[in-house]
């Protein structure tokens, strides 16, 4: 009985160790780690040790199964990437055409890869450009809230005023990377930066600014204009509600892989509501 228990325990133990071995081996594929701020980072880490082939052919069988799995994963991802590309193109068209960017909804979610492996014997190699496109799609770029100052919350009327110069900036993370990813055995370096911002002010006007704007602070002289990105409303939104201000962040993702490089542009949009009213001064 003791021997039976020992064998069961050893079998279970072997299963667990192999399970963890699998995890370690698959760690070569990039992981996506998300934090409480909902931002996600792609990491690609080398496994601590290569998997050990064993004598009874289990490794060979695993390779064969792994190859099939990799092919299936590649097919699934190619299909998902095609859908994502179509959605992204539609989204970009909408942003270009629409006066109200909020109507375009949120940027499409890049396809989720989990840890699906693209490497494996018998797989066709992919090009650097394809690897970069996949790596960029994996990269979950954050949308950036429109930064508008001075905040309406700072005055007693809780509104922005017609004619008052507002400062506009990117209120969030404007750089992701540089990071490395590995796709189909190709190493891809990515560096994403917000190259420009377009604000749809909600009153029919747009402001496009190079860079990420400059944040308004309480030390700014009252009435001073932003040196890089600003706007003054000419019409109030009140009493008919607020303007929906959309910030379209244009992420420029520079990739380098296998001696080649390029830039892939990915827009991300976020909105905020801004009540704008008129202040009248009585002069006696």
């Amino acid at each position: 009985m003791r021997r039976l228990r020992n064998m069961a325990a050893l079998g279970l133990l072997a299963g667990l160790v192999i399970a963890l071995g699998g995890h370690t081996a698959s760690a070569e594929e990039p992981n996506v780690t998300c934090t409480r701020t909902r931002s996600c980072t792609v990491t690609a880490e080398k496994p601590a040790k290569p998997p050990h082939p064993n004598a009874d052919g289990q490794q060979r069988n695993h390779n064969s199964a792994g190859s099939q799995r990799a092919k299936n994963a590649q097919k699934r991802f190619a299909a998902a990437l095609a859908v994502y590309d179509r959605q992204l193109a539609r989204y970009k068209r909408c942003l270009r055409a629409s006066r109200n960017a909020a109507a375009c909804g949120r940027a499409p979610e890049s396809p989720w890869l989990g840890g699906d492996s693209f490497s494996g014997p018998g797989n066709r190699p992919i090009t650097a450009g394809q690897a970069a496109a996949i790596a960029v799609a994996r990269l979950q770029l954050p949308s950036i809230a429109p930064g508008i100052g001075p905040s309406p919350d700072l005055n007693r009327w809780n509104m922005a005023a017609v004619g008052y110069p507002l400062w506009l900036w990117a209120d969030g993370r404007t750089r992701v990377g540089p990071i490395s990813d590995s796709v189909g055995g190709l190493s891809v370096s990515l560096d994403a930066k917000v190259s420009s911002l377009t604000f749809r002010m909600g009153d029919g006007h747009s402001v496009t600014c190079p860079g990420v704007g400059q944040q308004w602070t309480t030390t700014v002289e009252p009435g001073a204009k932003s040196p890089s990105c600003g706007y003054s409303y000419t019409k109030p939104s009140l009493p008919n509600g607020s303007y929906t201000v959309a910030a379209i962040a244009n992420w420029a993702v520079t990739w380098t892989s296998n001696g080649q490089s390029g830039v892939i542009n990915v827009p991300a949009v976020d909105t905020t509501e801004l009540p704008v009213g008129e202040l009248q001064v009585l002069v006696r």
């Binding site: 064998m7 079998g11 192999i18 399970a19 699998g22 909902r38 989990g114 809230a145 700072l154």
Partner: protein, 194 residues
């Protein structure tokens, strides 16, 4: 979870099942075979089981302590340097990414309200000496971020995470080393779901 990992889990489980099946079909052992005492060189079953249990418990404690420290740091407006408690419970890419996020929060002048909730932890990702795998369901929906003026600046997006965690033993301390996040709409059907 990575597909490769699932495959290995399947193989691992199959090996375990085979061993269990073999255990149910005892083979006659000739008396003449020289007997070796496995306990002389390898730990006995109960020792291994005990070791696994202790490792898993320590790993879970490290993860929970790390989450509590993150709660504290996000609520107090982030940090630029890793605290002793953070370094005692995290390492590698997990520490780096956590710290990057805490720095962002500090730079933006935000702080959080509410604690992340660990809905459940399962020990389903393997064990070996000095390294265990856990899967945790983290509910971050309760965590809100506000800026200095008190405005809700909570980034949009799904906040229910299934985290595949690797916890390693480093200089005698268990530390969360990597996390692979899968965003889900509900924890229903997840192994770590309540």
């Amino acid at each position: 979870m990575p597909l490769g990992g699932r495959g290995f889990v399947t193989v691992g489980a199959a090996v375990a099942c085979c061993a269990l099946a073999a255990a149910c079909t005892p083979e006659p052992v000739p008396n003449s075979t020289p007997s070796t005492n496995p306990t002389a060189t390898t730990p006995t079953e109960s020792q291994i089981e005990r070791q696994m249990r202790l490792d898993y418990e320590a790993a879970e404690r490290a993860y929970r302590a790390n989450m509590a420290e993150q709660d504290r740091l996000y609520k107090t407006g982030g940090t630029t340097k890793p605290t002793a408690a953070l370094e005692a419970t995290a390492t590698g890419s997990y520490l780096r990414i956590t710290l990057e996020s805490l720095r962002d929060v500090r730079r933006l002048g935000w702080h959080s309200i509410g604690d992340a909730k660990i809905v459940g932890i399962v020990r389903d990702r393997g064990w070996k000496r000095g390294r265990v795998g856990l899967t945790s369901c983290e509910n971050n929906e309760i965590v809100k971020f506000v800026d200095k003026s008190g405005r809700d600046v909570t980034p949009k997006g799904p906040a229910l995470y299934v985290q595949a965690l690797t916890v390693i033993r480093e200089r005698g301390r268990w530390k969360v080393s990597t996390a692979t996040t899968r965003k889900v709409k509900t924890f229903e059907g997840q192994p770590c779901g309540a």
